[in-house]
Structure formats: structure tokens, C-alpha cells
């Protein structure tokens, strides 16, 4: 069967596009405390490289299995972890809705993240795709699952800000 995109009513499609864009802007604008709110309570967020993802392995470089764990990540980043200040810029394209199963929308989006360090060094930190399961809670789209599949196995230095 050919992989394709599902045609959805303009409204739903627009809401999903907005969720994906709002998510990236929240991270890039350092509104990280908002990040957990893009997910339902019983959620899953994982950053894993393509090789592991394709081999069906489960361990990547971040793995949160509840909204509480997402909050803890951000609190740790603000209060505990030591790193050089830096920010991300997400470039996203080609969002497609692969499949709709009941309330779950399976969505994929390609991304590139450029990392800028405090002294100005810039690099392509990460490229890959988001593999999402999006659901609607009180009419609002939320991630039930977001798997960040990174093309490279390498993380340069460290990863503290979520992608």
C-alpha cells in the first residue's frame, strides 16, 4: 500500500498545523514551562535516533512517559542542570496526516533545529522527523505521543532543551 496523506476537514487540519507550529515557537521562545501543556496527561515523549527507531529499540536520549515527567525535565533544566546558555530555532515542513484511527491522528513533520550558543556559535544541532499521535481534549489538539526521530546517532555535547 502506498503511504499517503489523509484529507481532513479544513478545521481539523488547521488545528493540527497550529499545534505543531505553536509547540516549536514555545520552545524557541524559551517558554518551556508551556511545553508540557501540549501533551495529554497520559502521554509519551521520546527522542530516539533513526537507527534505534527502525530496529524497534526503545531507549533514546530522552524518554518521558507522563506529563509530570515533562514538567520535571523543565524544572531540572531551570534549577539543577549546568550547561552553557543556548537556544533553538525549529524549521518545520511537510506536515502530513498519515492515518486517522478513531480520535487518534497519526501525523509526521520534518524538522531541522539550529542551535545558537551564547557566544554566537551556530550549528545544525538536529534534523529528523516528528512522529506524532494527536488527539483532541475538550476540542483542543494535544500530543498523546511525540517521537522525535533524529537522523543522526550523534548528539553534540549535550541535549537539555527538548526538541
Amino acid at each position: 500500500m502506498m503511504e499517503g496523506s489523509v484529507n481532513l476537514s479544513g478545521d481539523v487540519r488547521q488545528q493540527i498545523d497550529d499545534l505543531i507550529a505553536d509547540y516549536a515557537h514555545a520552545i524557541d521562545d524559551d517558554r518551556l514551562e508551556e511545553w508540557p501543556n501540549f501533551f495529554v496527561e497520559d502521554c509519551s515523549y521520546r527522542i530516539i535516533n533513526r537507527e534505534n527507531h527502525e530496529k524497534g529499540r526503545l531507549v533514546g536520549v530522552m524518554d518521558c512517559s507522563s506529563r509530570g515527567m515533562l514538567q520535571d525535565r523543565i524544572l531540572a533544566l531551570r534549577e539543577a542542570n549546568v550547561y552553557e546558555p543556548h537556544c533553538y530555532r525549529h524549521m518545520q515542513s511537510g506536515t502530513r496526516i498519515r492515518l486517522v484511527e478513531g480520535d487518534i491522528h497519526h501525523v509526521e513533520t520534518a524538522f531541522t533545529v539550529v542551535r545558537t550558543m551564547q557566544e554566537g556559535d551556530m550549528s545544525v544541532f538536529c534534523a529528523g522527523k516528528f512522529v506524532d499521535e494527536i488527539t483532541f481534549e475538550d476540542g483542543q489538539p494535544k500530543f498523546r505521543q511525540r517521537v522525535v526521530v533524529t537522523d543522526s546517532n550523534r548528539i553534540h555535547t549535550l541535549i537539555v532543551i527538548p526538541i
Partner: protein, 411 residues
Amino acid sequence: MNETTQIKWPDDGVSRIPYQIYTDPKNYEREQESIFRGPIWSFVGMGQEIENPGDYQTTYIGDTPVIVLRDLDGEVQVIVNRCAHRGNLVCISKEGTTEELTCVYHNWRYDLQGNLQSVAFGKGVGKTGGMPDDFDQSKHGLQRLRTETYAGLIFATFSDTVAPLGEWLGEEMRENIDRVVGRGMVLLGTYSQYMPNNWKLYMENVRDSYHASILHMFQATFRINRLSMKGGIKLSDNGWHHISYSIAETDREEDQYDSKKLRAVKDGYSLADPTLVKGWREFDCGTTLAIQSVYPNFVVQQITNSLALRLCLPKGPEECELLWWVFGTPEDTDEQRDIRIKQSNMIGPGGVISMEDGVVGGWIQRGTRRDQDKTTIVEMGGRDVASSTEGRATEVSIRGFWRGYRDCMGI
């Protein structure tokens, strides 16, 4: 060796380390000869990753590319990944399965033990060209290294004189490997961390138990304290390998691991989801943490139930790449596997406990690039190299690393 370009060690000990050792390109070249091709065994991969005859993976010893494979007789071989003809990489892929090693450039073919089998157009074309009559194929195979496997871990060496692997590791080091990987490994994930610092800065960090509760603030911030621990540092007889460990002193599982009973102190933050730090008493000996470094650049890790192997590859004087293998055991229940996955959040480049280890080396690299004649100070806990029952206020395992370094480098 050219004495005039050799780094001059500041004294006859291992408590002063010259900054130059982290940047000097000539010293880097010498390390490749004297350490990575010297009297050491290098970890190159897991036997189970090349399970069947013909399976191979490519990796590095130091910065020399090598192929790790299982030959058609089922024997593990480690072969330098360089064609005898003009030096092309013989295996391009990271992994695969093959019945022979064929160089794509001019089609020289080798068997899986590295013996040269045929040379394309070796007899010429239409009676002209071809290799000279005295070209002896049997003398132009791939370079095959001495190889040994211990508890499923494959090691190789360029050295003809280094002791057999088990002896070289010594009993205490073998025991810890048996404990952590001896039950078998189920690979849960692999990844790499690329760092802007000399490889030795990372290996010092691995052996640096002094910084653990100071640089890494996650546990303190969230008041994750485990009570009644004792710990210490074991060094191999020559000081080259180390294990830093903690052992829970009580047998009552709840006392150490139940996240609900973690000590809460005012002003501390608490975890919204404390299942992150949930674990179980996995080892009868009560060991809750054991970081083992096998000289010079291999690490066997147990942090509660988070098990991993790490290999730090030099990538030029001022860069290195840390490869991680995160694993569980074949006996793990689903619940135990899930706990290991959760605990994987503590480690690696995104590890809430230890991400700082990826960045501090780069800061030292930047801090020490100037004033190359100056030195660091490594004398917490004395100036000698010997096992210690004090785990935190000592840098003895770092001194052990430099003992091994000076032994190998002859400086």
C-alpha cells in the same frame, strides 16, 4: 621516538598533569602508537551484534578503522579496515553481512580472515598489464589483530606482548564485568555523544568521583538521597583500571528505592512524577552504583538499574566521540525493562543526572588552551595510586589513569 618533541612531565608523579597533554597534535599521534596500538585491549563491540557467520560491524581502535566480524567458522575476527592495495576502506557500511571482503575500488577480494583471494585483472588484460609475476598474494592480506571475547564483549589488540585479556583485566575487574554483563545483554538502545574536548578529559571525568555530588545537582535539587551507603574505589594492581562503587548497607529494599519515601526537605523541589527514580534491588551484593573504567577508554556502568557500556573514541586532539550501549538482561520482566527505560533519562547526553559530563570537558579544553606549560592539580586524597575506602574526597582513580598513561607513553 623524538625526545625533543616529547612532552616533559612536570615531576615523577601523577598529581600534576600538563595542559599540553590535552591539545598537542604530536602527542596525539604518539598516543595512537603507544596507547591504542600499545599494551592494551580495546573494546570493539558485542558478540551478539555479530551473531551469525558473515555478520560484521565497523568501528575504531583509537582512530584506526577496524572491521569486527564473525567468520564462516564462527570465530570473531578484528581486521584493520584498509585495503592492502591502495588503502581504501574495505567495509563502508556500519554493519552488514557478507561472505567475503571485497574492496569496491579495484575489486581485490579477501576472505573473512583477511587473506587476499584474488586481484582483479591480476593476470592482465589480453596478455598485457597485470601484476608482476613475483607479486605474492599471500603476503598482502588485511591486517588481522589479536582478538579475545570476555562475557560477550569483544576486545582486540595490536600488541603481541600484552597479557591475555582475562589476566590483563585482573580478577576484580572481571568480577564486576561478570556481575553487570554476565547474565547476558538485551540491547535497549545505542547512541553517540560528540564532545569538543580531548578524549582524556572525558576519561578523567569518568574516574572523577569527587565531582559527582557537586557538579551534578539533579539529585540534590530534588532531594533524592539514598541513606546508608558505603562506597569506595577499587584499582587494579597497576592502577590502570578502576571501579568506583556504592553499596546500600541495609537489605531492606524499601529504604533505598521506594521513591515515595524519599527524604523531603523544605526548600527542595519535588518531582511531579517520582516514578523516574524508582528502581529495584537488582544485585544481592547491594551494589547500587558501579562505574568501571577499563584502561584506557572503555566504561562499564551500573547506576541503580541503568546498565550501559561506553567507549570514548579519540577524534583528533580536541574532539572525541562517546559511544553508548544501553542494555538490560534476558531475564528482565516487562516492568523491569520499563524501569530501565525510565532510568535511561538519568544518563547519556540528555541525562538529567549526568549531562554535565558532556560539557565540562569542552570548558576545560577552552580554559587550558593557553598557558600550555601549566598543569592541573590532582591530589585530592593524596598523591599515590591505591584502592580507597573513601569514594568522594579522592582523585585516586584519575591518578591511576595517568599512571597507565605514563607507563604506556614512556613519559
